[in-house]
């Protein structure tokens, strides 16, 4: 278990804010970007990279480092600033985001992005990647964990369930699903488009240990991480993070209009100011 004595919740909150503001900044460079899918996982990414994962940014090829697969690759825009901030590459490189010849596209390329453990973009693949990483760790006698962030819409892909099934079969206790349960896919609410609930029961029925916590509450996220078992065998681990798509920007929260967008002018300034002010309590829109 990582030493939590040095973990400062305020620092993690600040890094989550940094993920959001960088997402807004980089999107303006590109002219389009995935704001809301990134905002929903900002606290998870912050806790994972700044408090949980066993990594050495100065040694990105360390064999026994923890792995992270951003299976919902469209949220890479929130991961790049973290990797830069941790020292994997100069932050100034992000100013090239999506421009011709840049290392940093909307979906991430492991051959170009230092610190990125695998490429992604086509949904449904990442858990199989993590499964292979976990198997390789076992063969090689390493004890690293592999974390895979899945989107909730993504788990309608059949390959996810091939991997869910296999992870239980191979008893990969060091494989961890981080499900960003933000409620929305592109066309609507997941429960309207293609329902996944009760998702925790579904994972459990495949033999996984499942936790379900508020994915914007950093102490809860850390507690869930602390509950992960040690060792490389046993039940695979899933954490269902209940989140709000677009969290942190009122106009985007649980809105279907902001899966991809671009803020300019006063809208850009207003959203940046809103983010700088910090998260307000989430108040769902009243049911129509």
């Amino acid at each position: 278990m990582p030493n939590r004595s040095n973990v400062n919740i305020a620092v993690l909150e600040d890094r989550a804010k940094f993920i959001r503001t960088e997402t807004v900044r980089l999107t303006r460079i590109a002219g389009a970007g995935h704001y809301s899918s990134t905002f929903s996982c900002a606290e998870i990414l912050s806790a994972l990279y700044y408090a949980q994962m066993r990594i050495e940014p100065a040694n990105p090829d360390w064999d026994n480092r923890d792995r992270f697969v951003m299976s919902k690759g469209h949220a890479a825009i929130g991961l790049y600033p973290v990797l830069a901030d941790l020292g994997y590459f100069p932050p100034a490189e992000l100013d090239t985001y999506t421009r011709l010849g840049s290392k940093y596209g909307d979906h991430p390329d492991m051959k170009k992005v230092r610190g990125l453990d695998f490429s992604s973009g086509s949904l449904g693949h990442g858990l199989s990647v993590g499964l292979g990483m976990a198997l390789a760790g076992r063969i090689r006698g390493h004890d690293y964990r592999t974390y895979v962030m899945l989107g909730d819409g993504e788990i309608s892909e059949g390959q996810i369930w091939e991997a869910v099934n296999a992870a239980n079969h191979f008893q990969l206790g060091h494989l961890v699903i981080l499900l960003d349960r933000n409620g929305l896919c592109i066309d609507g609410h997941t429960e309207e488009i293609m329902s996944i609930e009760p998702v925790h029961d579904r994972f459990a029925s495949f033999g996984w240990d499942v936790q379900r916590v508020d994915g914007h509450d950093l102490p809860s996220i850390l507690t869930a991480f602390d509950n992960l078992p040690q060792g490389t065998t046993g039940k695979p681990q899933a954490i269902v993070f209940d989140t709000v798509k677009g969290r942190g920007v009122k106009r985007m929260e649980m809105s279907l209009d902001w899966h991809v967008g671009n803020l300019v002018g006063e809208d850009y300034d207003d959203v940046m100011a809103e983010l700088e002010a910090g998260l307000k309590p989430y108040v769902p829109e009243p049911a129509q």
């Binding site: 490429s119 199989s128 499964l131 292979g132 990483m133 198997l135 390789a136 390959q159 091939e162």
Partner: protein, 343 residues
């Protein structure tokens, strides 16, 4: 047709002289029967893995059909059966490759290449992972099992993927050479095999360089450029043509991508005509790849011979090779017709 091939044909036709056959694995592990060059896939990989700790092998519920169980018997800790979940297997292999392994994952070509095409492109080729996807029972070698189990499109689908090496193994000894050459080859590979009963072309393990064709026979009137299961048929057709005074060069174009363009160009310079022979849809495979080279060269008579652009009939493999003129007499007749037309 040789005696060996006649024996094979008898088995293909199911006329095993009244013997009950209850499992479709008629070879003995490690010792392919004479005249029946069984898969040496698992055996060869097991041998390689004794000195190469990176090698890991997986299959999707076909360990006996593709002989990866021979690997499992020696290295059970480095063998995984993924069950009937090919997409997961191919992508997981990419994950293993990202952590230092060199995975060989095998299943029927129809599922490895056609079902798994996106996983091969996105997870293996694009990130340059050293995954070796092995498609066994390719072409129409599954005969009466039908088009769901045929792979007559795999070469066309995969050879247009960048950073993917596509190779057809010719026979058992050739497969050994391909596997040995593959261990340290950069990037992802697709290795296409027949059904494991392919007629012998190489009596010993050949010297093989990935991307470099093997010229098996010299000739000047016609070059037959064949791949995989059709190399033997091309050689036998060439021998028959020679008897009536036609000098035929035969090339084993085992690597489909990247293609040995120089060997094609040499044939175009030094022989009067070129005919490609492949167990693949006439569209998109070896013939198309060769045509892409020839279009930039001075014109010469050229014919693509393969399976017509439609789903083939059901039938025993030998009957299909006969019907589609892909056995030696068929190749010979197509070549004679071609030569008579070009004068």
């Amino acid at each position: 047709m040789t005696t060996e091939m006649q024996n094979e044909a008898e088995i293909f036709r199911g006329t095993t002289e009244g013997k009950t056959v209850f499992k479709d694995t008629r070879s003995v592990r490690g010792t392919p029967k004479a005249g029946m060059p069984a898969f040496v896939l698992g055996e060869e990989l097991a041998e390689m893995a004794k000195t190469d700790p990176r090698i890991v092998v997986a299959t999707a519920d076909l360990a006996s059909a593709n002989r990866t169980n021979d690997f499992k018997a020696v290295h059970p800790d480095r063998f995984f059966d993924f069950g009937i979940a090919e997409k997961n297997m191919i992508t997981a292999a990419a994950g293993m490759a990202a952590c230092g392994m060199v995975p060989y994952v095998a299943t029927f070509a129809s599922f490895a290449a056609i079902l798994g095409a996106e996983q091969i492109r996105t997870d293996c080729a694009y990130p340059k992972m050293p995954v070796r996807v092995i498609g066994t029972h390719s072409g129409m070698s599954m005969g009466f099992y039908g088009s769901s189990h045929h792979a007559l499109e795999d070469l066309g689908m995969l050879r247009c993927m960048a950073d993917l090496t596509v190779i057809c193994a010719t026979d058992a000894n050739h497969l050994r050479a391909v596997l040995r050459a593959s261990a340290d080859h950069p990037g992802a590979m697709y290795i296409r095999l027949g059904r494991g009963r392919d007629p012998v072309v190489y009596d010993t393990v050949p010297d093989l360089t990935i991307g470099k064709a093997i010229r098996l026979r010299e000739g000047t009137d016609l070059t037959l450029i064949a791949t995989g299961s059709e190399v033997r048929a091309a050689l036998d057709a060439a021998a028959a043509l020679e008897k009536t005074g036609t000098s035929v060069r035969v090339i084993d174009m085992h690597t489909i991508s990247p293609l040995d363009r120089e060997e094609v160009a040499a044939a175009a310079r030094e022989t009067r005509a070129i005919m490609t022979v492949e167990e693949h849809n006439i569209t998109g495979g070896l013939g198309s790849a060769v045509a892409e080279v020839l279009i930039d060269l001075p014109r010469l008579p050229f014919l693509r011979h393969g399976v017509p652009d439609r789903y083939v009939e059901v039938g025993p493999p030998a009957a299909l090779y006969d019907a589609y003129k892909l056995d030696a007499p068929g190749v010979e007749s197509v070549a004679r017709d071609f030569l008579s037309r070009i004068g």
